[in-house]
């Protein structure tokens, strides 16, 4: 049986933990708002990019010799998984869920006899995948020192991917990130980056000709499409990073909320136990005194 002093120390320690989790929850709430604003502000660019790419795609798929970024290399032997996770833990199942999805796909691809390469963005995902796929991780991107995610961060990853692609290092690239549905719901998602999945698939002849009549392209539609496809990769990566940042804070907020509540329950239980024991001690001492007096 723990002594009264031990219990008092225990209660004090749980109280300290509760203060920390409460503070972390509030910090996460503030960061979440900022991350959501950033994701919101980035939306117009991505939307317009999508629109223009969609309409360009309608025209150019009719021609041969389109960019391999769009039509692929014609193979699907080597897969590159870009796994985006957080730099820090203590955010519930956030990192684990993304890694789990990536791991399931990596296992499936390996079984099918494909080569799997992994670029790990964020420390936690790399740690998580290192045990099973340690030698498949070809690159790691550290965003620990980045305070505010900027497009430059996405661009540097995008440039890396393009360089690898041009060197023939992989055929298909897929990005793994957590889609931000709401504060309590984040969905791990896989999105194919290369070859690009564009909103509009092959258009019918009629709309293609009408689009041709509507727009002029400078310099040529192929050149613009090639230019945009490169940018699109960075844009998609940027979107993934922003969604991930918001999801991470949301996950951390609810995880810390739970932790705070658990700590509160624990304090209540411990306090009741502590009081019972204290009263039992008093009663026992009284009995000893009374029985001592009676014995006289």
């Amino acid at each position: 049986m723990a002594s009264l002093k031990d219990m008092r120390v225990r209660i004090a320690s749980v109280k300290a933990t509760r203060k920390i989790t409460k503070a972390m929850q509030m910090v996460a709430a503030a960061k979440l708002r900022r991350a959501q604003d950033a994701a919101q502000a980035a939306r117009p660019y991505a939307e317009r990019m999508d629109k223009v790419l969609g309409s360009l795609n309608k025209r150019v798929t009719n021609k041969d010799g389109a960019s391999p970024l769009l039509v692929g290399t014609g193979k699907d032997q080597t897969h590159l998984l870009v796994v985006m996770t957080a730099e820090r833990g203590l955010c519930g199942g956030f990192n684990g869920n993304i890694a789990k999805l990536a791991r399931a796909d990596a296992n499936r691809l390996t079984r099918e006899g494909k080569t799997v390469k992994i670029v790990a963005v964020g420390k936690k995902g790399a740690d998580n995948l290192r045990r099973d796929f340690g030698k498949n991780i070809i690159d790691r991107v550290d965003l620990k020192s980045v305070k505010n995610l900027g497009f430059v961060n996405a661009e540097s990853i995008g440039d890396k991917l393009l360089a690898l692609f041009e060197a023939g290092e992989f055929d298909i690239a897929t990005m793994y990130f957590s889609e931000f549905k709401s504060v309590i719901a984040q969905k791990p998602t896989a999105l194919q980056l290369i070859p690009a999945k564009l909103p509009e698939e092959k258009a019918t002849g009629a709309t293609a000709t009408s689009a041709e009549a509507v727009n002029e392209y400078e310099p040529s539609e192929e050149a613009i499409l090639g230019f945009l496809l490169k940018r699109n990769i960075s844009t998609q990566l940027f979107r993934g990073l922003l969604e991930n940042a918001a999801s991470e804070q949301g996950a951390r907020m609810s995880a810390m909320d739970n932790a705070t509540r658990n700590a509160g329950d624990m304090i209540n239980k411990l306090t009741i136990k502590f009081n019972r024991q204290r009263q039992a001690n008093i009663t026992r001492e009284l009995i000893e005194i009374i029985s001592g007096a009676e014995a006289l």
Binding site: Y45, E218, I224
Partner: protein
């Protein structure tokens, strides 16, 4: 005088400019061009350069962009640029930083021809801006 149209300058991070304007000078890949209301629809890539927009209220706004692309319709102009700087807010120091970044690209061994060309143009513009800035 032609009417006004909607001019939007969007960076990946946020919408930088959204205004009604009378005319905008855009540094297109194949040469500068001016957009007025009712312009034929064009999609063009842009080289690094200066966008000059004339808002309906009068005056001129100059913005330096580091390449990008634009979509013109008869009623709107949307410029998507990765980096944009309002020239009025640019001083010698920020320009010097940009020149250094562009020069780093020029001197790096693994830059593509396309990047080299863009960096070259950017430096030319930045030097000009430097002579204009106070």
């Amino acid at each position: 005088m032609a009417g006004t149209f909607k001019f939007e300058l969007v960076s990946p991070e946020r919408v930088l400019v959204s205004a009604d304007v009378e005319e905008v000078l855009v540094p297109g890949e194949d040469g500068d061009f001016t957009v007025l209301a009712g312009h034929a629809p064009v999609i063009s890539t842009l080289r690094p350069g200066v966008i000059e927009s004339k808002p309906s209220g009068g005056g001129v706004t100059r913005i330096f962009i580091d390449g990008g692309f634009c979509e013109v319709t008869p009623t709107s102009l949307t410029v998507l640029a990765e980096k944009a700087h309002d020239i009025a807010a640019m001083d010698k120091k920020t320009i010097a930083v940009q020149v250094m970044a562009a020069e780093a690209v020029l001197h790096s061994s693994d830059a593509t021809d396309e990047q080299l060309r863009a960096a070259h143009i950017a430096i030319g513009h930045l030097k000009w801006l430097d002579s204009q800035a106070n």
